[in-house]
């Protein structure tokens, strides 16, 4: 099992990664961040992603659906953002967040890697 710090390091080893965070979506605060660029404010991005996750959860409840999110991919003009809620009991209410450079990143590979990092993560 890996702790948050080593989980973040593994996320940053994914090809094209420019920022990684573990975020608590009840508060919007990041538990940990790691970044390779100054152009991306991960604390602001964590808050923005929290809004996306909350929008999804709120509307799922309103629609009376019993659906859980496995991951959310957001494609912006120059970046990919991947959000992956933790599934472990201790990870309830947390999600992994990875920002990638679109030209260098491989989306399919990154999703696959993030899944295995999430399974190994101990918070």
């Amino acid at each position: 099992m890996a702790n948050i710090d080593s989980g973040l390091k593994e996320m940053m080893e994914i090809e094209g990664a420019i920022g990684a965070a573990v975020v608590d979506y009840s508060s919007g605060m990041a538990l940990g961040t790691l970044s390779s660029t100054k152009s991306l404010d991960l604390n602001v991005a964590a808050a923005g992603n929290t809004e996306v996750v909350r929008a999804k959860i709120r509307t799922t409840e309103q629609l009376g659906l019993n659906e859980s999110i496995e991951d959310i991919l957001i494609t912006l003009s120059a970046q990919y953002h991947i959000i992956r809620p933790l599934t472990s009991r201790k990870g309830q209410g947390l999600f992994l967040y990875l920002a990638m450079d679109r030209t260098r990143g491989n989306l399919a590979l990154a999703r696959h890697r993030l899944k295995s990092i999430e399974e190994e993560l101990d918070v």
């Binding site: 602001v44 991005a45 808050a47 923005g48 992603n49 809004e51 996306v52 909350r54 929008a55 999804k56 709120r58 509307t59 799922t60 309103q62 629609l63 659906e67 859980s68 999110i69 496995e70 991951d71 959310i72 991919l73 957001i74 494609t75 912006l76 003009s77 120059a78 970046q79 953002h81 399919a108």
Partner: protein
């Protein structure tokens, strides 16, 4: 000009695609749809797209698409160049290829110049009721006030109820 409706039908024919909806995410409603009736999901589409497009993530970048992967389905929201419009596509996770559907949708987004479809009432459906009724004397008072404004008169008149 590309026929968006035709494009939506073609996306529906791809393996695994269950529904294709054109959603107005400002108004939280489905404007047109093909395949399974997933109009109820438009509210969720609107909330998620708004959270991305109006949140700090955007910061001058353009949102192209959002993919939500759930237990059984992928939900794809492709944001169109036309303000407030996006395509909402639902496909089975175990059927078809997400990569292929995304590739196709990106082409649609590049080419599409959607026109809002005709929303004329169908024969036999009742006309929508006005939200409130207005008394004739009230309308007359408003009309008189407007007339005074347009003549540019500077005298002050009192409103007599």
């Amino acid at each position: 000009m590309i026929d968006l409706d035709q494009q939506m039908r073609e996306v529906l024919r791809l393996d695994g695609v269950r529904s294709v909806c054109l959603v107005h995410w400002h108004e939280e409603r489905a404007v047109a749809w093909h395949g399974a009736d997933d109009r109820a999901l438009a509210a969720q589409t609107a909330a998620v797209v708004r959270a991305v497009a109006e949140g700090p993530l955007e910061q001058g970048r353009t949102v192209e698409e959002v993919v939500l992967t759930e237990r059984g389905d992928h939900l794809i929201y492709t944001v169109l160049a036309r303000p407030g419009l996006c395509l909402q596509v639902r496909m089975g996770r175990d059927q078809g290829s997400l990569g292929l559907v995304l590739h196709r949708l990106r082409r649609v987004a590049e080419e599409a110049r959607p026109q809002l479809p005709d929303v004329r009432r169908r024969r036999g459906t009742p006309a929508p009721a006005a939200p409130t009724t207005v008394e004739r004397p009230v309308l007359l008072r408003v009309l008189n006030a407007l007339r005074e404004l347009s003549t540019g008169s500077d005298r002050t008149a009192e409103v007599v109820a």
